[in-house]
């Protein structure tokens, strides 16, 4: 792998930038691998990277039906935070946060992780009680958090309407200074480049169309380019997890919904933090290019269409204009949808299945991007050892039968 550095940048400038290596190979699939990962998004690529780096398992294929990082990794609003209420979820997302903090160095790839802080606004007395409880829980778990009043929120984010005359006045917020945003594509590309350099085969434009299972053991996957064998298969396919599970005869407690996001035309710097509101129900940050990155809730119906409905766009922008009246004349540039796999308790599934050797990492719903490195890290451990990483163990699919749910609905700071 060609290492990136300031010196390298200067050197390549002298040769008119014509000698940069390709970031990864485009290999022909082998007949057999030790591990196959289905899904070449951020989580799948991170899994492959940590499998190779931390567990020495390099005979690995990532099989992607489209192109790397072309699904939800490319479609989210890039927010990273770890202020979750329950111990199990907090530990998982904080594990990811700690990896984020060293990720650019680790990957030798600038993922543009910017810890500009995340505000979760409170608009009612109950909001503020929930915020107090969540921030206290976070601090007990060693996660940074502060409860702010209206004046402190106004100082951090002057563009936010903090006047008492709004329909839902800002009464305060929780503030996680270590939260922020990252460059979503760079995360996928950085992990892909790192995994490829360690010997992982990244196989694009190849769709898994079936699973070969004998005597309850996975033997490999049928793809549009023929059968590929492996006795360990990890499915990391977000919205399409249910489709893969059906191929293996497994039912998952997931429903796939479109989740939309929008970006505005680029404007001068106006918002240097991330603002999320559960009650008004929208979230917003400003990218380094200057466009406002906007998101809100899912479309209520099940869908695989990777596009969203107009009533949801309208609802989203109503919320943003309610919070930031000055944005009312900003024009929207692009809008898109991704397919999120929502779980009944708004927590992911990192789990073995009744089929030996077949594992699922799914159910991240509307908030998977922030967990990308942590998810890949603990899932790689799980695939390498054959049983769940201690942080992943509570996220077993068994919890829906035993009743030991991890209910992060609403408690996670923004409604899902």
């Amino acid at each position: 792998m060609q290492r990136y550095s300031g010196f390298g940048l200067a050197k390549h400038a002298l040769s008119h930038n014509e000698n940069w290596q390709r970031m990864w190979r485009n290999p022909t699939p082998k007949k057999k691998y030790d591990v196959i990962i289905v899904g070449g998004g951020g989580h799948g690529l991170a899994t492959a990277y940590y499998l190779a780096k931390e567990h020495g398992i390099t005979n690995v294929a990532v099989i992607e039906k489209g192109w790397l990082g072309g699904g939800n990794t490319a479609r989210n609003t890039t927010i990273v935070r770890s202020n979750y209420l329950w111990d199990e979820a907090a530990e998982l997302y904080e594990h990811a946060m700690k990896l984020w903090e060293g990720l650019s160095q680790d990957l030798n790839y600038n993922v543009m992780f910017s810890q500009r802080g995340v505000l979760n606004l409170g608009h009612t007395l109950q909001d503020m009680r929930d915020i107090q409880r969540r921030v206290n829980a976070n601090r007990l778990n060693g996660i940074d958090g502060e409860v702010l009043d209206t004046q402190q929120v106004k100082e951090i984010c002057p563009v936010l309407d903090c006047s008492p005359n709004t329909r839902y006045p800002v009464l305060g917020a929780s503030w996680q200074p270590r939260g922020g945003v990252a460059r979503h594509d760079a995360v996928a590309w950085g992990f892909a480049r790192g995994a490829d350099a360690l010997g992982v085969d990244l196989i694009q434009q190849t769709e898994v169309i079936g699973m070969r299972i004998e005597d309850g053991q996975i033997l490999g996957v049928e793809t549009t380019r023929g059968f590929i064998a492996a006795e360990t298969v990890g499915c990391v396919a977000a919205g399409n997890s249910g489709v893969l599970a059906r191929m293996a005869g497994i039912k998952l407690p997931l429903e796939s919904h479109p989740l939309q996001a929008l970006v505005s035309e680029p404007i001068k710097p106006v918002l240097d933090t991330v603002v999320m509101s559960n009650h008004v129900h929208g979230y917003c940050s400003q990218s380094d290019k200057g466009d406002l990155v906007i998101g809100a809730g899912i479309d209520g119906y099940n869908g695989y269409g990777q596009r969203g409905s107009y009533p949801t766009i309208e609802h989203t922008l109503q919320a943003i204009v309610e919070m930031f009246p000055t944005f009312s004349r900003v024009r929207m540039n692009r809008q898109w949808g991704g397919i999120v796999d929502t779980c009944p308790d708004a927590c992911p599934i990192l789990s073995a299945t009744p089929v030996k050797g077949l594992f699922f990492n799914c159910g991240w719903g509307t908030g998977g991007f922030k967990a990308t490195p942590g998810s890949g890290n603990v899932f790689a451990w799980t695939l390498a050892k054959g049983y769940a990483h201690p942080i992943a163990a509570p996220f077993s699919i068994d919890r829906f039968v035993s009743g030991k749910l991890i209910d992060e609905h609403g408690a996670a700071g923004v409604a899902h």
Binding site: S256, Y301, N302, G303, Y304, G305, F400
Partner: protein, 102 residues
């Protein structure tokens, strides 16, 4: 915006009058006190989530406020039929495959 035919109002209305309410035809276990945890979990949490035809409940929230059922394609979002509660769908994945028609 979807245009949805409410079988109770007898006319098409805009999507924003309705609320999707998830998979239809889910039967509550007859004897919840004596069913296994697996059966109860299946009833509460596990859903078909098909990529293709989906039978689902919708609520005409700002209209007649009645629940009804919809058969809809989850990829194209095309609504193939709507029918009242208690009725069965005319169009299913099987009938579609057998008939060869859309």
């Amino acid at each position: 915006m979807l245009h949805i035919y409410c079988p109770y109002c007898g006319e098409h209305r805009e999507e924003s009058e309705f609320r999707p309410k998830g998979q239809a035809h889910i039967l509550r276990p007859k004897d919840p006190d004596n069913c296994s945890d697996e059966v109860w979990a299946d009833y509460l949490f596990f859903r078909d989530n098909p990529r293709g035809l989906h039978h689902e409940m919708w609520l005409h929230a700002t209209g007649c406020r009645k629940y009804f059922n919809v058969t809809r394609d989850t990829v194209s979002y095309e609504i193939l039929e709507t029918y009242k509660m208690g009725e069965q769908p005319k169009i299913t994945a099987q009938s579609r495959a057998a008939g060869g028609e859309k």
